[in-house]
Symmetry: C2
Subunit: 120 residues, 2 copies
């Protein structure tokens, strides 16, 4: 069993967002996804983002106001949101407390390796 | 973007633990892992568990005292613990508040489809 401690993790500031990517841990080949924690200060937002990876985010503290082409959805602590690959998104923290999020992300193509092998 | 709401999720009582498995959502082929929330009441424990799936758990509220063959480790809200496949484990809640956990789990064999295809 391994523990991954959020408080002591190495963080990098990206805009106003503190990001702790899990590639700082020795987990290659252990999990079928990459992961990170990130925190958005009160009243701040992430930079608008769009990437080929799909991303599942679980809100740990605070509330995420998640903006996509569908509009803005409030996701409270304990709940989660799932962004498709190549789906533009921005995470706003409209509250007076810090927003902490755990995210797992992966290339959707990696979900179909068997199909790829069969067609090769 | 999809939101997955913990509060309104369908839960099943397993021993003293409330479990909300994500197979209640239409996510087949979307994520490279299965997922669930579970909550352990104050002073209670999960049943001793062991399964072929590896499991990454993120503590959402409270503290998990995770017992494995290595001993017992306290994992606080925001942090995570990673259980290997076939590793016996029990989660204790020794506090006076509820323990809420998000878990992702997957078959480790699913991480090596390319290697399997090459050797076939």
């Amino acid at each position: 069993m391994r523990t991954l401690d959020c408080v002591s993790s190495h963080k990098v500031l990206v805009g106003s967002v503190d990001v702790a990517r899990w590639d700082q841990y020795d987990l290659d080949g252990v999990m079928p996804f990459q992961a990170m924690w990130y925190s958005v200060p009160a009243g701040q937002s992430s930079s608008p983002d769009c990437h080929p990876e799909a991303e599942l985010s679980v809100v740990l503290t605070g509330t995420a106001w998640v903006e996509t082409a569908d509009g803005i959805a409030a996701v409270h602590a304990g709940s989660a949101f799932l962004i498709d690959g190549d789906e533009p998104h921005t995470v706003h923290n409209r509250s007076g407390q810090s927003l902490l999020v755990f995210s797992a992300y992966w290339l959707p193509a990696a979900l179909a390796p068997t199909t790829q092998a069969r067609s090769a």
